[in-house]
């Protein structure tokens, strides 16, 4: 390495622009930060030697330099944000809410632009390889960019001396020169700065007043937070960190909890659905305009069981209650690292019970039977040798080309054909559909009527285990600390440089020059020291 020794004695790394200790511009390196043509020195990274500005030969150098460029970083971020925005023009595939396959949906629904959207892969943008790659590149850029700057910056700030080279002082953005000053003036100035929480270091009559140096680390701290978040999202792809399942449980039903390896069962004891009272004084006005009742609560009361011992397939496992509680929207239930969230409801959509009353021709009751779709029982004794038998059962009745059939196995619209027999009566057949019973033959002995129906609700629950959450939270917290540190505090420095009986004053801050100016102005009150002038070329 070709180190450079400054006239102050400090040894600087190759590529240094301003001596780390005294700030004297190092000859031959001024073009690096563009100081040649400017009066004011570029102070961005204290003129320290950054790898990306120094080595430019090998492939590694070039890669490093590519990623450590803020321009490249900004381009990557800009591309990601434009792509993300375009992805919202039409719904993503998972939200499209249609039975049509995507290859037809986008074109039929949105025409040519929809087709283009689909063909460019925007319908699945956020998990597409190129979007993920873009985010990964941002991550790489973030790491390299930060390392490239933070190390030399740290060194420069650590090595800085109170005694600066005259050129350094004269070429600061804020600068003034006073012919005649007294010791008293200086003391007042320093005391005032001290009151404003500047830390004063003195070296041979030269003074450095500095505050909030820690704010310089803000960007790097916040970038570390972002990197933790990116790492957390990679971790989250693994099952040991994150699993997700979905289960529909009907009222009264007990089901295996998905993603738990058959270890947990969940029972839906009761589903509660509530709506706002239309006469509620507070909301009367708004509710008048609502066609349907406005829901106020979706809630599933559940019991969670754990399997006591693993059993062989087909055997009923022995269950032990481990948790019991209410799951509401916004109030999940947590058990053993899993959380259950209220997600979907099929409100009173399935029949749990349909009961019939059987009478003879004279209107005397023979008996009753209760059909429960989810039970296996298919014959019913009505007493006195009368019997009912289910012959056909279609859970969700529909007529197709091949005759009656069922659309699904869920009792959403049951069609039932049953037969009643008695001591002296041949079987008589009846058909039940849509809360109505019709005889399938003429001349009936019996009168069969619908007695009662009971509807139940199926509750859709999301089952989650997510051990990556703390990492995201830590990342986000570090990010917030970093941005606050970098954006709410500002690194300010004031140098006092006595020279041939004159006093030179210079000031620098990484941002908020207005604040620094106010600090200096207030601290110079009651002294004869000249207020600093802004030497920045006007843009």
């Amino acid at each position: 390495m070709k180190n450079v020794k400054c006239e102050c004695g400090h040894i600087n790394h190759e590529g240094t622009v301003l001596c780390e200790a005294c700030g004297k511009p190092i000859e031959g390196n001024q073009h690096i930060d563009g100081n040649d043509d400017n009066k004011v020195l570029n102070m961005r990274y204290e003129g320290s030697a950054r790898r990306s500005r120094t080595y430019k030969r090998t492939i590694i150098d070039k890669t490093w330099n590519f990623f450590s460029s803020v321009k490249v970083g900004v381009w990557l971020i800009a591309l990601a944000l434009i792509a993300a925005a375009i992805g919202t023009i039409y719904p993503q595939e998972e939200f499209k809410n249609s039975v049509l396959p995507s290859s037809q949906f986008y074109e039929e629904q949105y025409g040519l632009t929809g087709k283009i959207f689909y063909q460019l892969g925007f319908h699945n943008l956020y998990s597409s390889w190129w979007f993920v790659t873009l985010i990964a590149l941002i991550g790489i850029s973030l790491v390299i960019c930060s390392i490239d700057r933070v190390v030399p910056l740290y060194r420069a700030l650590k090595n800085q001396k109170a005694k600066r080279h005259e050129i350094f002082v004269r070429r600061q953005r804020f600068f003034s020169e006073t012919e005649q000053t007294s010791d008293e003036d200086r003391q007042t100035f320093m005391n005032n700065l001290r009151k404003r929480r500047y830390k004063i270091t003195e070296d041979d009559g030269h003074i450095l007043a500095e505050k909030n140096r820690f704010s310089r680390w803000g960007p790097y701290v916040n970038h570390i937070g972002l990197i933790i978040i990116l790492i957390a999202s990679i971790l989250r792809m693994f099952d040991f960190m994150h699993t997700e399942g979905y289960v529909w449980v009907r009222e009264g039903e007990t089901k295996v909890v998905p993603t738990t390896d058959q270890e947990y069962y969940i029972k839906n004891e009761k589903f509660i659905y509530e709506t706002y009272d239309r006469n509620d004084e507070r909301f009367q006005e708004a509710l008048k305009n609502e066609e349907f009742n406005v829901p106020s609560n979706f809630q599933t009361n559940v019991v969670i069981y754990k399997v006591k011992e693993k059993v062989t397939l087909g055997q009923e496992p022995e269950l032990e209650e481990v948790a019991r509680g209410e799951i509401r929207l916004n109030q999940p239930l947590t058990f053993d690292g899993y959380s259950a969230y209220q997600s979907g409801t099929q409100l009173r959509s399935e029949y749990n019970l349909i009961s019939f009353n059987v009478e003879n021709g004279e209107g005397q009751q023979i008996g009753m039977f209760e059909f429960r779709p989810n039970d296996d029982q298919r014959t019913y004794e009505l007493g006195n040798d009368y019997k009912a038998e289910i012959q056909e059962y279609y859970p969700q009745f529909e007529i197709t080309e091949n005759g009656p059939s069922s659309f699904s196995k869920f009792p959403r619209n049951p069609g039932i054909i049953f037969e009643i027999t008695g001591p002296n009566v041949e079987g008589e057949r009846y058909f039940y559909l849509n809360e109505d019973v019709v005889p399938l033959s003429d001349d009936n002995e019996f009168q069969v009527s619908l007695e009662d129906t009971q509807l139940i609700t199926a509750s859709g629950l999301i089952i989650k285990k997510d051990y990556s959450l703390p990492f995201f939270l830590i990342g986000a917290t570090i990010f917030m600390i970093g941005v606050a540190q970098g954006l709410y505090w500002h690194h300010r420095r004031v140098w006092l440089h006595p020279k041939d009986g004159k006093l030179l004053v210079a000031g620098h801050t990484n941002k908020n020059w207005f604040g620094l100016q106010k600090d200096i102005e207030a601290s110079l009150k009651d002294t004869n020291i000249e207020m600093v002038k802004d030497q920045q070329e006007k843009f």
């Binding site: 803020v70 954006l487 709410y488 908020n512």
Partner: protein, 396 residues
Amino acid sequence: MDLNTVSSNALYAAFILYLVATLFFGATIGKNKEDKTKSKASKIAITLTIIGFISQLTFFFTRWYLAGHAPVSNMFEFIAFFGMMLVLGFIIIYFIYRETIIGLFALPITILIIGYGSMFPTEISPLIPSLQSHWLYIHVTTAALGEAILAMSFVAGLVYLIAKVNQTVRSKQTFWLEVILFFVFATSAFILITSSFEGAGYQVEFTQEVDGQTNTIDYHLPALVEPDGAELRTEGAFTTGIEAPSWMHGENAGSKFNTLIWSILGGLVLYGLTRLILRKRVAAAIQPKLSRINTDKVDEIIYRSVAIGFPVFTLGALIFASIWAQEAWGRFWGWDPKEVWALVTWLFYAVFLHLRLGAGWHGEKSAWLAVVGFTIIMTNLIFVNLVIAGMHSYAG
């Protein structure tokens, strides 16, 4: 007076106070730097602003009490809250920089935004279960505050551009500056037209067949465009017979499109009249009034508002939002349009900060970026809520 009246009157009062404060801020322009902040006018102006803010706070808390939940749950409430945060953002920036000219622009923008929000249904509505969470208040209020502080950079940016863009020749800059100002006219037109027809009780009914069902659609403005494939039901009502494009289905898409056309036409009329009277570009007419302002300071306000607003926005719109989404749906991030636009906003301001620090984008470039940023915020606030979300009625 019952509490309901107190509440809505407090909002009116705030509205009027902002208006009067604007006039006083107007009286400070053209003054020298020194006597600008020390002048009576500026003291009265900021005092009125603060009283207006307190009055709006009164509206907010009485309404909270009446509803039993924080009033940030529908468009009217949210936009009114956003307006209140704009005023807070302005007050913060005022006490840092004492720049009265920012008030002259910030308050009218606030007034327009609150006025715009008041055109939505204002009744107190109950909270649907997915919104029943304390995180609703925490998330929405913080996000709105962040957005409002970020919006101050737009206000400063606008001042900067009006003061700096060369008005002696026509250029891309003068064109886009007029476009920005046109939005002020279009929003005013929207408020004027909507409230006039609303006041007159205007209503036209259409029916529309969708998937075998007949929907009724009410228009509150004369129909310049009908809903796609709809049938007029109100005898003798005015309609041009032109239909909205067929891809605009979704609830009330036709009516929204109709309103948009009214606003743009109305805006063009107002803008055209103004141009006729001024006989020059609107920005060119304002420019001489801003000759005394310190543009370096305004430039710094552009940056400081982003620097202060960015962390607040991150906290509210991304972190708190994620925590809430995790609690409500078990997923802290789901790529729905609202979330994506919060991310877009955030990335955009990250770009702003990097360009400013890394590539030295100061002054006019910064000011244009601030304008774009505000456009993104308004897109998220209005367009995504009204158009994208409504059109696709996505789950979530």
